[in-house]
């Protein structure tokens, strides 16, 4: 496990279903620009839809779903945020 700071973990250690804040991206300027184009930047809040697993991870930022291959799991550091409250029955019916 690559523990970057006490409150940060690599994306590979984040939990499925939880929102995370992107805190560090350790890669080349070109690759950072590529992630920026997809909407992934420092401070973005992403929901982990699938993974992290052997394939990588699927994130959702706003309404955009982004698939990241496994090599990204160790170069992106995130801070886990508390999960938002589950929608109430009334909200689900809307």
């Amino acid at each position: 496990m690559t523990q970057i700071s006490p409150s940060l973990v690599t994306l590979g250690r984040a939990t499925q279903g939880s929102p995370v804040e992107i805190c560090a991206i350790q890669t080349s300027p070109q690759e950072r620009r590529r992630l920026l184009g997809l909407g992934l930047r420092l401070g973005s809040v992403a929901h982990i839809c699938q993974g992290p697993n052997a394939q990588g991870v699927v994130l959702q930022i706003g309404s955009v779903r982004i698939a990241l291959g496994r090599p990204w799991l160790e170069v992106i550091a995130v801070r886990q945020r508390p999960c938002p409250a589950a929608p109430t029955l009334a909200e689900k019916r809307v």
């Binding site: 070109q30 052997a54 394939q55």
Partner: protein, 770 residues
């Protein structure tokens, strides 16, 4: 970068993020009036089309590659788009935006506003926004964008296109003085100073340099250094982070001014999320992917086969027999009738026979692309292909290659990374196409009864192994370089639009027929001519196949095949290989012709008394017959079920009894297997070669030719020599030492740095430093 020669026609460029619906809009506006080519010096597809407006004026629309940003991180596509929009070749730019992802798409708008040219914003997929209750305030958006034209459309349904066409009648405006600042004042001031000192650089090149995405020109080193230091002083961040943060803030403010507030929480369960749970599942994703590819294979090749004989037989009736009859009646000599009708006409017939399976492949692929599934398939397969340095997208062409290598090579366009795309295309000729299966079936019927299935399966596996070894070698030779980890957007699932799918498939098919077809027709004139004419009585005349140029040439060539146990008496098999270089389907056909000893056949009879009407009727009747076969073959798309049944195998391969007897007399089990190995690996057929040349350029096409021929010869020869080692140990040992020497010399030559630079500069279309 001029678009087309001459004329005062206005040129409008379509720009947009991937999945914004840009190409759908391009298709909807230009219909069939499109030209597809490559951008100069590179293999990125360039599409332009004519648009006639209601006033009668005509526009040229250029569909630029889909990019998230013009600044960096996007590879060759992005370089092309940036160079084009900066060149000023277009009179205006239309940016296509998915209104559902407005904020992110506005990042590209920010870069286009930076350029300051005429810009029109098209908000696509308004129907989905309507369904979500997220309709944008268009006036607020126009105001935030400095008064440029903003139009809502649904490209897939044609909604809003009349208004767009109307807007295109006139020059559309640039953002006016009311455009709010693109950067915070502190950064804006620094950029103004930098702009004044670096006026020779394009606006986007200046930003790229400032952000460390391009090398600083020596004469501007001081200016950029000062600008970077000033940005750090003012913001506490480096230039790249500060500028990115400023753009995101601008896009966020602009989007929130136009759209109702959206919750930060994960949106409620949608169809896309529910489907992705299965399709992207680490365990279930792979079988689902294989199922989809199986459906692709069945639909493309079995459905294509329903019409294949119709296309082949009817075109043969018209372009071979019909044309031959007309030429004969015009008094042309026999040999020239053979050349023109049998050669050129035969070439056209072969091209047309490929049309049905390729058309179905393109239709199915276009539908998959439109549906949003291909991005998921790439993610699912990525973990397996990454080990070879290839992205997951490389799997799709490989599977298509089992049907036909030509559409497989064209399908490599879905591979984003240019290095990986070259490698994936060069792997395709080793995938055992359906034409090669015909040869396997004939030999299995004679030599491998009882275990034909295993032999054919081993050949398929050998092909896959050769493809994987080729990828490995290329990664360690001229195409060395860091892998780009997969990062892609997963678009929401959508029903493919019929018009868009058909137009997309038609464009690809047209390229195949016109460009690949030319090569096949010319080679056809040469290779189909050889069995029909020979040097007889001091001149070139129509003759029987035994005295043809093909027979004379094939006999001379048998010496090359001696290491794999093929002697002069098996020259018909060598002739099959020579003709098979044109198209693998004809290997057995040529052997049939030779083994039947066509001495009694009158070669010109079909031209003198053609039965064109009867041939056309028979061609039409093949459609219902093959339709019934299609239903029967749904469970066996590759036709393996015929293996083990001699009669069925021979029938499926099209081999007659004379051919089977001839093979049995001339080959042993071992030499037959060596021959099949050679058939599997040797030269890509003419259409595959043409496709490689078009997609990768002549150098790689010739490399594939020489490499596969050498690999086939060395491997097939080694199998035979090892199998017969006890009979002639010194000869076999000499062969094996020679093979080892060739491999070592190749390895040394292969890893020379000069090759890597050559590949970078000439093949991938970019300099080594970029």
């Amino acid at each position: 970068m001029p678009i087309s020669a001459g004329g005062p026609r206005r040129v409008i460029a379509l720009v947009g993020n991937p999945n914004s619906g840009k190409t759908t809009l391009f298709n909807a506006l230009t219909g069939a009036h499109q030209q597809v080519g490559n951008w100069p010096g590179v293999t990125v597809e360039r599409r332009e089309g004519r648009l006639r407006l209601d006033s009668g004026r005509e526009l040229m629309l250029v569909d630029l590659p889909g990019v998230y940003s013009l600044l960096g991180g996007g590879g060759l596509d992005q370089d092309i788009a940036r160079q084009y929009v900066q060149s000023g070749a277009a009179d205006g730019i239309v940016q296509v935006v998915d209104v559902g992802n407005l904020q992110r798409h506005l990042l590209l708008t920010h870069e286009l506003l930076e350029l300051g040219g005429p810009l029109l914003l098209v908000l696509n997929m308004m129907d989905e926004a309507r369904a979500r209750g997220q309709l944008p305030d268009l006036d607020a958006l126009r105001q935030r964008l400095g008064g440029i034209v903003v139009l809502p459309i649904v490209a897939r349904r044609g909604e809003g296109l009349a208004e767009l066409r109307h807007a295109l009648e006139e020059d559309f405006p640039r953002a006016d003085a009311h455009l709010p600042p693109l950067y915070p004042p502190a950064i804006q001031d620094i950029l103004s100073v930098l702009r004044a000192g670096t006026g020779d650089l394009g606006p986007l090149d200046r930003l790229r340099t400032l952000e460390g995405l391009a090398a600083v020109p020596p004469e501007h080193e001081q200016g950029f250094r000062e600008a970077r230091e000033a940005i750090v002083d003012k913001t506490g961040e480096d230039a790249a982070d500060a500028l990115a943060a400023a753009r995101f803030a601008w896009a966020e403010e602009t989007a929130s001014a136009a759209l109702p507030a959206v919750s930060d929480a994960l949106p409620r369960d949608t169809w896309t999320q529910r489907l992705d749970r299965w399709i992207l599942h680490p365990a279930a994703g792979l079988p689902i992917f294989l199922l989809v590819l199986y459906a692709l294979l069945v639909s493309s090749f079995n459905a294509g086969a329903i019409f294949q004989d119709f296309f082949e037989d009817s075109s043969k009736a018209l372009f071979v027999h019909g044309l031959g009859h007309v030429l004969l009646a015009a008094g042309l000599p026999d040999w020239s009738v053979q050349a023109l009708a049998g050669g050129l006409g035969g070439g056209v017939s072969i091209v047309l026979s490929f049309v049905p399976p390729i058309a179905f492949t393109f239709l199915f692929l276009a539908a998959l692309e439109d549906s949003g599934y291909l991005a998921r398939a790439a993610f699912t397969m990525d973990r397996f292909f990454r080990r070879l340095g290839l992205p997951g997208t490389a799997m799709v062409p490989m599977v298509i290659g089992f049907g036909c290598n030509v559409p497989a090579i064209m399908a490599t366009r879905t591979v984003e990374d240019p290095r990986a795309r070259v490698i994936t295309a060069l792997m395709q000729p080793f995938m055992s196409c359906s034409a090669r299966l015909a040869v396997y079936l004939a030999f299995a019927a004679v030599f491998f009864r009882g275990y034909g299935g295993q032999v054919v399966f081993a050949l398929y596996l050998t092909g896959i192994l050769a493809a994987l070894v080729t990828a490995w070698l290329l990664r360690r030779g001229p195409l060395r370089g860091a892998d780009r980890p997969l990062a892609l957007e997963l678009p929401p699932y959508r029903w493919p639009g019929l018009r868009s799918v058909v137009l997309h498939a038609w464009q690809r098919l047209r390229v195949f027929v016109l460009r690949v077809g030319k090569v096949i027709a010319v080679l056809g004139a040469v290779l189909l001519l050889l069995p029909g004419i020979g040097w007889v009585d001091g001149g070139l005349r129509g003759t029987d196949i035994d005295h043809s140029l093909l027979a004379q040439g094939s006999r001379a060539l048998t010496v090359v095949f001696a290491p794999m146990g093929i002697g002069e008496e098996q020259w018909p098999a060598v002739a099959g290989l020579v003709a098979g270089a044109m198209v693998k389907e004809v290997v057995i056909g040529v052997m049939n012709g030779i083994y039947q000893r066509q001495e009694s056949a009158d070669l010109m009879a079909a031209y003198r008394e053609p039965a064109i009407g009867a041939e056309l009727r028979a061609a039409v009747l093949t459609i219902p017959a093959h339709g019934r076969e299609f239903l029967k073959n749904l469970t066996d798309p590759l036709g393996f079920a015929n293996i083990g049944d001699t009669a069925a195998s021979a029938a499926a391969a099209g081999a007659d009894h004379a051919t089977l007897r001839g093979l049995a007399a001339g080959f042993t089990d071992l030499s037959a297997f060596a021959y099949l190995l050679f058939v599997l690996l040797y030269l890509p057929c003419a259409s595959t070669f043409a496709a490689l040349r078009r997609e990768l350029g002549s150098r790689w096409a010739w490399f594939s030719m020489v490499y596969s021929l050498a690999l086939a010869w060395l491997l097939a020869g080694s199998v035979y020599q090892l199998g017969t080692f006890d009979r002639h140990p010194s000869q076999s040992l000499l062969w094996l030492v020679m093979v080892l020497t060739v491999v070592l010399v190749f390895w040394w030559w292969w890893r020379r740095p000069g090759h890597i630079a050559m590949a970078e500069t000439h093949i991938l279309g970019r300099g080594p430093g970029s």
